[in-house]
Subunit: 211 residues, 2 copies
Amino acid sequence: MKRRGVLAVVSGFSGAGKGTLMKNLLNQYDNYALSISMTTRLPREGEENGREYFFVSKEIFEEKVQQDGLVEYACYCDNYYGTPREYVESQMAMGKDVLLEIEIQGALKVKEKFPEALLLFVMPPSAKELENRLTGRGTESADVVAKRLCRAVVEAQGIENYDYIVINDDLEVCTQELHSIIRTAHRSVGRNEEFIENMRQELNVLVKGEK
Amino acid sequence: MKRRGVLAVVSGFSGAGKGTLMKNLLNQYDNYALSISMTTRLPREGEENGREYFFVSKEIFEEKVQQDGLVEYACYCDNYYGTPREYVESQMAMGKDVLLEIEIQGALKVKEKFPEALLLFVMPPSAKELENRLTGRGTESADVVAKRLCRAVVEAQGIENYDYIVINDDLEVCTQELHSIIRTAHRSVGRNEEFIENMRQELNVLVKGEK
C-alpha cells in the first residue's frame, strides 16, 4: 500500500506568488498533484476542461453538492466554484501530495472535512513589497491595486487559522521551503501510526524470542 | 533582535544513531548548539568539563535544582544528571536551534517547561535492523543487547508524546530530514506572531494612505 499523501491548502495575498510556487513544485517534484476546481462558469478562450477547471452545468454542480461530492464550494458572480472530493481523495490514496490553492473561507471548510490538512499561508516579505508587485505588474489600475490591498487586510485577520507561513522573497528559496514543510508533515507521529505499531509488535517478538 | 531558536529534543532507541545524527547536524550547519548536561559523576579519562558534561559537586547540583536552574534532572546510579536552563535559554536567545538528546521522561519534563519545544524520536527502519546494529557493534554482550531491546519496548510506548519520527536508514538522508523538520518549525504561525502583526500594521497604513 502506498503511503497516503498530504493535503496542502495554500492561501495568501493576491500578488504573493502562490500560482508560480504551485507551478514550481509541480515542475520540480513528482510527488505533487494540483487539485482542479469545478465551476459552472463558461470556459474562456484557451481554457481546457480538466486543466484550468472542470466545466459543468449548474445542474451537475448542484447534484455534486447534494452528494457531498465537494470538499468546499462557493458562489462568485452568479457562478459556482468548488473542489471535487473524489480527485483529492484518489490522488492522496495514490500517495500524491495534493496542492489546493484556495482563499481562507474555503481553507477553513477543507480543514473541517480533512482535519489533517496542512494549511499554508504565502506572504510577501513586507506590505510595501506586496504593493510594489501589484503595481509593477502594470496591468492593474490603481483602483484594482487598492482593492487587492484592502482584501489583504481582511485576509491577514485569519492567518492564525493556518499552520505555517511561507515568506516569498526569493522564489526558488520559497519553493524549496514550501516543499520542505510539506515533506515534513509526512514525518508527524499522527501520520505514522501504522509504522509505529508495527515497530512495537516486531520489538515484542524479538524480545520474547530472546528470553 | 535575533529570531529565537528552536529547542529540539531528540530521543530514540539506543542504537538508532542519535549521537551521530547530532554530530552531523553540528558539523554541517551553523544554526545548532548542543545542550550539555550537568552531572555529579566524576569525569572519565579523556572527558572535559564543558564538552561531554559540566562536572559539578552534589552541593552545586542541588543548589541548581533549588534555584530552578535545570530544565529537567534525574538520578542514575547515585549520580545526578540534568539540563542547565541557562545555556539552553541563552543559545535560543542568540538564535541557535538547541539540540537536546535525552530519554522520554526528561523529554516530557522539557515539554512542560518549554511547550513550544519540538519532540523528535529517532527510529531504525525496523526492529530487526535495530537488533543487527546492537549486535554488530560487537562490543556488547548478548545480555546487554537483550536489555537494550527490552528498553526499546518500554520507550516505544511513549512515542505518541512526540511530534515527529525520523527513520534512520541512510544516515545522510536522515540528517537532512532532521534538519528540514527543525527548520520547518521556524515557519509555524505561532513562531511568527511578530512578523504577522507587523504585516497587518503595514497593510493598514498602506490602505489608509491610499484612500
